[in-house]
């Protein structure tokens, strides 16, 4: 399976070129977000600046949708456009949207309705948008995609599950192309929960290689990939294998390990067991923030590196365990990248990307 188009939106802006700029630039201080129900409170966060997005046409078309749907539609549209494949929406194209938390802000808005106005006076529009598959439906409606349209949630492994299914759909001829992506949104309730259950980085830096204790800074965004078994369009790389629970390919030589460590687990030391002294390791969560679907952004970074044959230094290099880090940004031959994530049960999920 090949990545033939890439689209994304995060605190760096809309479009993969902005992620590329961030990879080139390195770490940047997060913004801050107020906590409406905690007087005087504020959290650091990497949030999307909706007011300054370049695309106004699509946003107008989906003006009644919430932030999860807006981010999804913009990133999905970019992935299709990035592929350059003519009339792509009229082909056998499916959608697999993955998310850890879905439209939770809209859900809480609906709870506001119930609490403020009672069971009989709630907004049908808010309810419609609070359903988990609203974002995928907005993609289908606004881009006129009539193939299978699916939403999956699996906390840390949502994206990996979606990618695995995309491969099956392509291999079985259910689709010729799959638009697979991940989205999650920041909201003050989840900000409060994250701050309460995890540790917020006081210096504004996610330190992915400390492993324990960990620190997080909330992020939000969407990353979408147009996938195909054909070598066409704006091909980035091949997705060779997606494994969950076990990694039968772990013995394979890779050029870079990208890990999803981002402080979303209190103990991320399981990552240490997956690393090798011979392979440089990177983690790009300090660029876009902590998200259970952050693996999608790391895969995007890996795809960009393989396409450009360029290594991007890991942005925050605090390294108490003396692991071998990718410390310099430079051009150089890259054949294979391993992207690894862990969930709260210390189970592993691995995606292998290879140069075409």
């Amino acid at each position: 399976m090949k990545i033939v188009g890439l689209g994304m939106i995060c605190s760096e802006g809309q479009g993969s070129a902005n992620l590329e700029k961030a990879l080139q630039r390195g770490w940047k201080e997060p913004g801050t977000v107020a906590t409406p129900h905690i007087p005087g409170g504020a959290y650091p966060a990497y949030l999307v600046d909706f007011a300054n997005l370049p695309d106004k046409t699509l946003l107008k078309k989906i003006r009644r949708s919430d932030a999860v749907s807006k981010m999804s539609v913009l990133a999905a549209a970019d992935a299709l456009a990035d592929s350059g494949i003519k009339d792509i929406t009229q082909k056998k194209l499916g959608i697999i949207l993955t998310t850890a938390f879905g439209p939770h802000v809209t859900t809480f808005n609906f709870l506001d309705d119930i609490l403020d106005h009672g069971d009989a006076a709630v907004s049908p529009t808010t309810f419609s948008n609070s359903v988990h598959n609203a974002a995928a439906s907005y993609i289908a409606m606004s881009l006129d995609i009539k193939g299978p349209t699916l939403t999956i949630t699996q906390f840390q492994f949502s994206f990996q599950s979606g990618l695995q299914l995309a491969q099956a759909w392509l291999d079985q001829g259910r689709c010729d192309y799959v638009l697979a992506g991940a989205v999650d949104q920041y909201g003050d309730v989840l900000g409060y929960v994250a701050d309460h259950k995890l540790t917020t980085a006081k210096d504004g830096k996610i330190k992915p290689f400390t492993f324990k204790p960990t620190c997080q800074i909330p992020g939000e965004g969407a990353a979408f990939f147009l996938l195909s078994n054909k070598h066409e369009g704006n091909t980035y790389c091949c997705v060779d294998a997606i494994h969950t629970n076990a990694d039968p390919d772990h013995g394979q030589s890779v050029d870079i390990n990208i890990i999803d460590a981002d402080g979303m687990l209190l103990d991320e030391s399981a990552y240490l067991t997956s690393l090798s002294k011979d392979i440089p390791t990177a983690a790009y969560s300090p660029l876009f923030g902590s998200m259970m679907i952050g693996g999608a952004f790391n895969v995007a970074a890996g795809a960009l590196m393989l396409k450009q044959q360029r290594r991007y230094a890991t942005p925050v290099q605090d390294n108490p365990h003396n692991i071998r880090l990718l410390t310099a940004t430079e051009d150089g031959a890259l054949a294979k990248i391993r992207c690894t994530g862990y969930n709260c049960y210390a189970e592993r999920s691995v995606i292998y990307l290879t140069k075409l």
Binding site: H37, I114, V122, A140, A168, K197, N245
Partner: protein, 392 residues
Amino acid sequence: MNTSSLLITGIGVISAAGNNAATTLQSFKQGTRNAGPVTLFPTILKSPVFEVQRLPAGYYLEGLRTLSLALVAVDQALQEARLADLTGLRVGVCMGTTVASQLNALQFYKSYRESGAAPMTSVDRFLKGNLAEFIARKIGARGPQASVVNACSSGTDAIGIALSWLKSGLCDIAIAGGSDELNHVPYCGFNSLGIANPGLCAPFDRDRKGLNLGEGAGVLVMETREMARKRGASADLMVSGYGSSSDAYHLTAPSPEGVGLKAALAAALSEAGIGPSSIGFVNAHGTGTHDNDQVEGTVLAEVFGTGLKMLSTKGLTGHTLGAAGGIEAVFTALGLREGWIPASAGFQNRDAAIPLEPVRETTAINGRYAISTSLAFGGTNAAIVIGREAGS
């Protein structure tokens, strides 16, 4: 791998119609409609609901009713499949839901917005309550997992995903279906949409006035023929095809031409390698809302002809949302196995705008194949073909 190689070796079901397959069939024969006012949470709304009357002993999990219901159905299905120990087996879990994916805990949120702080009990439950992940950990399944949150087609899509996993060799056995509890938030939501029936639902009836919500879980154990042979498991049923398609039309209304449903049916039949004439009956989505039933009835008549034997079981279970596809797949399998389908509860008067009508009484069925359909919020349509082994 051909889909005729994908067997159903176990089924499990719980709904207002019964706590297992045997009691469900009994209440189907009697046409029992166990609906009543909401008892699970306080509300001023009056639309009747189909609650599960008594959760079997040993399955109560505080604040996690969707998971409790799922476990009941999963245990029944594993028992029928004679899968007591999954050690060493490649087992995937794919479950559809709507409620278990959302942190819609009113008391937690009320406390947070009033004081800026709230106890984490509900959050902890939510974080350990991802449906597929929870089931997989509970039964020791180590294969692929996915919780499908595709609104009302979630359960059907979950079975379709499991079929894809088995065909692609990601696992040898898959536990798939759906589960949802009756929950305050969607109950208010469906009322706000103006489609909650003040009386009992009447799918496909001329005078239908909307849906009743319900709750429950329906689960299939699916496995490759090779795996079943190795284990010495027998099966008379199979999942033969799955199709899914989007209307790309409207967030809450189906395409008037039913384009997505037609495409989903065509894909499911194609994967099964059969034509419409092979279908013995269709267990329709049939919610009892005006738009759904009109579009669905019209499409079914167009694809299968006006003589199709068709029913909606939502008059017996209510609309169980993310569970509906799983529960109705089980009912479809039971119909093929038993050779009869129940009367489509609530139907009395033919709607002249719908070119066919559901069965009015318990009806014998012929044929080796049947279809279960789901039409969801967001314009998603899904269909699965279930088959009976030749000679069984």
